[in-house]
Symmetry: D2
Subunit: 309 residues, 4 copies
């Protein structure tokens, strides 16, 4: 059904960044996360994405993360690296560092913080892509960037070979579907959904892969989901997706009176990985708070219902 398989496709989880009690990157835990994911059958790793807490990590921490992930991956799967900065020159610095440290591709957003313009976004991606030696994917995440990449802009950048794909966290499945159709004939252009709850539906529509934050917790589940879709068994894909959708309820456990959506979601992934014995603790970066014991208990219960404990 999917006529072509781009280089970056399949299950590509955005790797969480475990931290020590004092906020440093917990290298041993991060190595175990990579092992857990590759053991779960993923097709790639996306380091330094939103789920990787990239917006909270200093440059030095980001470099540590990338070194650990690239080394732990050991060439078994490609490592995509986020280069998330406000504008072009700052992105270029991070992107060059990522390439130097072994990233297979760089993922970057439109400019943010500053007000921007379609012509500037276009120039931004072209400048970044022209300056580095690995493929560039666009990260479409309006909830963070506060602008949406238009169908016209992505289509043109795909046709011109500037972008190798899009990681779509826009929630705009209509445009996502239209982009699949628009770029059908662009060799190796990858459309990856970031919405872990509708992966089956997006694969039916022609998506080439998923970047599920929840994949940190249950990589095997996403592996089974993708395999079912690939063989056309949509009944099985849907059943697996429904189970994963229930598991995704862990992101809504934290008390919204004291936690942002980011703290709630990141905290849930880390807490689940702690309960599963993959990472040492559920520390998150300031100014977020970690999940409490009571919240941890509720996450444990959801993991059990999903068959993970």
């Amino acid at each position: 059904m999917i006529a072509r398989t781009p280089r970056f496709s399949g299950v590509v989880p955005p790797v969480v960044t475990p931290l020590t009690d004092d906020g440093a990157v917990d290298v041993a835990s991060l190595e175990r996360v990579v092992g857990h994911l590759i053991g779960g059958g993923v097709d790639g790793l996306f380091a330094l994405g939103s789920s990787g807490e990239v917006a909270y990590l200093t440059d030095e921490q980001q470099e540590t993360v990338l070194d650990v992930v690239v080394k732990a991956a050991g060439g078994q799967v490609p490592v995509l690296a986020g280069a998330i900065e406000t504008t072009t020159n700052k992105v270029l610095e991070r992107a060059r560092t990522a390439v130097a440290r072994g990233a297979s591709a760089v993922v970057t957003t439109a400019p943010f913080y500053t007000r921007t313009h379609p012509t500037e976004i276009d120039r931004h991606f072209r400048t970044v892509a022209a300056a580095i030696e690995v493929p560039v994917l666009a990260y479409d995440i309006p909830v963070c960037v506060h602008s949406k990449l238009s169908r016209q802009l992505v289509g043109a950048l795909a046709a011109d070979g500037v972008l190798a794909g899009v990681k779509d966290s826009s929630g705009d499945d209509v445009t996502f579907r239209q982009l699949i159709l628009d770029t059908r004939d662009v060799p190796d252009f990858a459309l990856l959904t970031g919405h872990e709850v509708v992966v089956d539906a997006m694969l039916l529509g022609g998506a080439h892969g998923s970047v599920p934050g929840l994949g940190n917790v249950d990589p095997h589940g996403y592996r089974r989901l993708h395999d079912a879709a690939a063989r056309g068994d949509w009944t099985a894909a849907r059943a697996e997706q429904d189970r994963l959708a229930r598991l995704f309820d862990i992101v809504a456990v934290a008390d919204p009176a004291t936690a942002s959506g980011t703290a709630s979601g990141l905290g849930a992934f880390k807490t689940a990985l702690t309960l599963l014995g993959v990472i040492a603790r559920n520390t998150v970066s300031p100014p977020m708070r970690p999940l409490t014991d009571a919240e941890t208990g509720r996450i444990g219960a959801i993991l059990e219902q999903a068959g993970l404990r």
Copy 2:
């Protein structure tokens, strides 16, 4: 795969409202639209929705529309009627009128124009549902109403029997999927997607029906899509959806320098129906402008590509 079939399900297009040159409801054309849709195999009709130009029609025009649609439908399919007003008392007036004129159900949004609150939205739906004798469906359309119905609120209203369903035009497919799971055990609760480009994907996820504006133009296409999904032939469903997604490009034909998205979309549906000989002209309500001859030509070309001419 879909364990239950709610009363309001399947293909339920939001019926466009043809107008005469001087802006009156074009009764003969509207009758032909209804015939075209029922002949196309639809399962229900949604009169006075956004695609029905409800926000542009006076009370008297709305009553004419409902009379014509109910009579032309002749009981062959249920007629859902939009009751779109800013707040509760005003909605009640429209809803009672709709029931008196034969609507099978009423579809209404959260309060708009005024700032609102979840407790007020909850009370709003409960008050409306308690006051009328037909089922009430919630219309979730943040692009118009500027608030999103939360999963918690809809879940509670479903469980309490206040709502009979949701017409989802929110673009938030994650919440839509979660609602499907949350209301799985609520008898006769219908989740209908308003996004004509991803109907196959939403049906895979468990949606009970679609409310496609584009269904005015090609009801047979949505009939085939739903039938393929119902028999589990997702390859056929996807192929039909891809064709319809291309056809949906008609909504982007109008020059955005002089037309709103509403004018562009409504104008396209009406222009296509004119070209197909169903309605007499593509007049839209003030302050929108109709599509030009050049734009009409481009729509004709898209209809041909989609095999409709």
Copy 3:
């Protein structure tokens, strides 16, 4: 300092709409509100504005309100009437009714609920203005309408004699100031601020008047503020404004866990007027809730601090 005095200028409060326990217009209380305002020295009355609960009143209720206000005003001050509906034809119905019932001017917004476009907004105001015999003022209230009237659009409509003024509730004081400069030479064009906390500042910048919801509670205060500004005594104007800013804290008394901003603000004005003996009760329209006894107590305390009790 203010070179010219447009017809609609000075203190023009948006008149609240008192309700009986069963939600009908409380005619006797409304007559007392009008007397209270005219006795307080206001220069005009704005009936059926947002503070007048217009979005909650049925057509029949709106007509009652206008009849009562026009009659009670008795020609002592002009009565501006809101014609707040989603689009042009519906606005025209309300506007014509308002003129027939004695309104001196009509105040209307850009289209809402529907997506709109600058060219459509322009056509909307021109169509309304051409169809009625009294002046039309634009109501710029993005928090309700979700679009902002641009400087270019208002400037053109002022220059062409389409609009007689703007009631600005946009919170965009920069554009408001620029509009004052842009329309300096347009005879009789009125720029009225709807922000009761910065009236002194806006008058310094050249505003011709204010439309303060809080003016329902303390018309004398706004009278003194305007008079001080008119004679160039900015120290006195500022002191009066500071007192009124403190009084405005009544709008933040209601518990935000159960009241929208609208319920909190409208409820506060009505509760204060009840405590002052002007209206009989603080009932608000569904789906809003009235302020509680505890909240009423806090409002009473603020009234005392402001010297009103």
Copy 4:
């Protein structure tokens, strides 16, 4: 009228960052900008603000800017430095660097890119303030950060001595006025408006200073405006403000079809400074485009009308 004068008050322009043709910091031009501002009578300098292109400058460029400004200022006026990064740890890095290089105060925003929460924003400012030895001011700029600092949050941080002031670019003059009243008794707490078009009005309301981007172009004008306000000559203040409001039209010169609001505004300031002979060229950072010759001509004409050429 202003009972107290906080340490950071008066005219504090956000210093633009001149660039060479190849995008490096143009040190000589930047030195001239500082001289131009101090010569114009400003009370402080805000380096690395939005008008300083901070979101476009690499860490190294930012350090160069700060070194040049601190040295050129030579202790004549305090230098405030922006520390604009997505979250706490990253802000801390920039803030410590700024202190080490001689900044008198640090200005920082709420977290951005990531979704955030009031409790997190509160913790963010407290963490930053506790970690550095100079005062911290909050930068309230929702157009960039996409959250608004609430009256409650700022009031608490002021009362607790965490914040030394607010640089308000929120456009929410109502909350700004309320904050002035709320913090009236907090020693040395500064409320500075970032809206160059309404400085007279904000000073009337009790603001302690302004941070006008346009002050780069005409520091003398803002000096005169502040001085008039300080002596209570509001007629003169208003006249000067009106002239400056007209001058501010330079920010709307660039063709919006190819320039963002940021490119248009920053480009205008730099172009004006080029025409005035202060800086060498109007280069802006990628992905923005510089203003064209035609646009430069229009800016020249506006400068003439304002009496600057």
